[in-house]
Symmetry: C2
Subunit: 265 residues, 2 copies
């Protein structure tokens, strides 16, 4: 039987989601807890990797088990076996057509930036602290250039191997609070390249502080050269907020598009 | 010469503000950095202690030095000598009538509570995570009973020794965000007893979950018995937001009320 789980984690202590030899990862920690709980070897497949230090409020993963799990309170029963920085928030028994990665339609990420001329201890953990003066209105304007279907190669970690670097960004906006000092860069898209959110945010900051002009943005995107865009900000400011599967996850969830898929996921 | 400094700190790693033997404290850490920077023995006096694990966005302290300090960028020059969880945000050369504790007129604290039926890793660090269903409107109503001049002995750590347990609370409100799950209990008063904010918030939560009725609050206050109020919540949810000296701190700040004070502060 296949199960989908929604996971929240503070990524500070982990070397990213994906299992690695001899480095602590979210995947390994989850699999160990699930295997212990269900008394069988469990492998989880997430909607996508998150990098070292990156957080998730609503990561989704699936796993297969021989057991019939009471999904209603599975998180409550599993979480005592997990460290305090990882929690399973929900569990659903889903159809085999559901695949955490291939069934995903949209993802939403938030990158948090705190504007402060001086070091800000209470903002360090979950923000990039930006010491520059930035023009928030210009950055909001710049967001519009990113929205739409583009080849986002200029915002991808250079050594990444992917079939296509074309992605669609449905929304890019900046939420402002705390008297204009707390910025949340919110991005929703059909998929994201490696480091894409972190380098888009770095580029928007560069626009905000005048290092790039608004009119440079189309050229930066067009050039498809990583070196032309802004820097990749730290992982700690980034949180995967949610994964959208076209309809709410629930027990019995079927992915109609993938119902006839025969390959072995 | 006397100097006032505004300090932000993440209290997680410290055993409170006040210096203690063999335990790391904010005071000791600050005094070591200041003494090293100014090459003389510096003692700091804060507006008040904060307990173990409690944070500050705007703690204020004063110290005396023989040096003429360029206050404009003192934080920038001092902060490299401080650990990342403590920062001096501003420094002012003040009149000797200024005393961080005795000149203070009002203080504002925020206690953060996150409502979640299940463990919330991303909220753990700066919130009390509350698993109960609470009625926010009832809690807001309950805040009104706390405002005003009262003997707050029922909200004081039992073994505290103070001249008087009467304090005036000017404001008690609850700011709600994130779809009703993030609560900020904001309290402004002329002074706070030991554990007062933490036990008032615990009591308000008890009202919100129906353990106390609204009408119990006057009796709880009246009783002056710690055992009658709600529990003291964890230090990690509490932040000292600001200390108000009746007018903005600045170079040359004079406390007119204390100008003729002769005792040795």
């Amino acid at each position: 039987m296949r199960y989908a789980i929604v996971i929240e984690y503070d990524g500070s202590a982990y070397n990213g989601f994906q299992r690695q030899k001899e480095l602590p990862t979210v995947q390994q920690t989850l699999e160990e807890a699930l295997s212990l709980k269900l008394q069988e070897d469990i492998s989880v497949t997430a909607s996508g990797r998150t990098d070292a230090g990156v957080h998730a409020a609503g990561q989704v993963a699936h796993f297969d088990s021989r057991k019939a799990i009471d999904t209603s309170d599975f998180g409550f029963r599993l979480n005592p076996l997990l460290p305090r920085d990882i929690a399973v928030k929900a569990c659903y028994g889903v159809d085999e057509s559901f695949h955490a990665r291939f069934s995903a339609r949209r993802k939403t990420y938030v990158y948090r930036v705190y504007l402060s001329a001086i070091h800000a201890p209470l903002k360090e953990k979950y923000n990039h602290v930006c010491f520059y003066d930035v023009d928030i209105d210009v950055m909001k304007e710049a967001c519009k250039y990113l929205v739409g279907e583009h080849d986002f190669r200029a915002f991808m970690l250079s050594e990444s191997k992917v079939r296509t670097t074309v992605r669609t960004l449905y929304e890019a906006r900046i939420d402002v609070s705390e008297g204009g000092r707390q910025l949340e860069f919110v991005f929703t898209g059909n998929g994201f390249l490696h480091n894409m959110v972190r380098s888009m945010t770095g580029t928007l900051i560069d626009v905000g502080r005048g290092r790039f002009a608004l009119s440079d943005l189309p050229e930066i995107i067009e050039s498809k050269k990583r070196a032309n865009a802004g820097k990749t900000l730290e992982g700690k400011g980034l949180t995967l907020i949610s994964v959208d599967y076209g309809k709410p996850l629930c027990d019995g969830f079927v992915d109609e598009k993938r119902e006839k898929v025969t390959e072995n996921d």
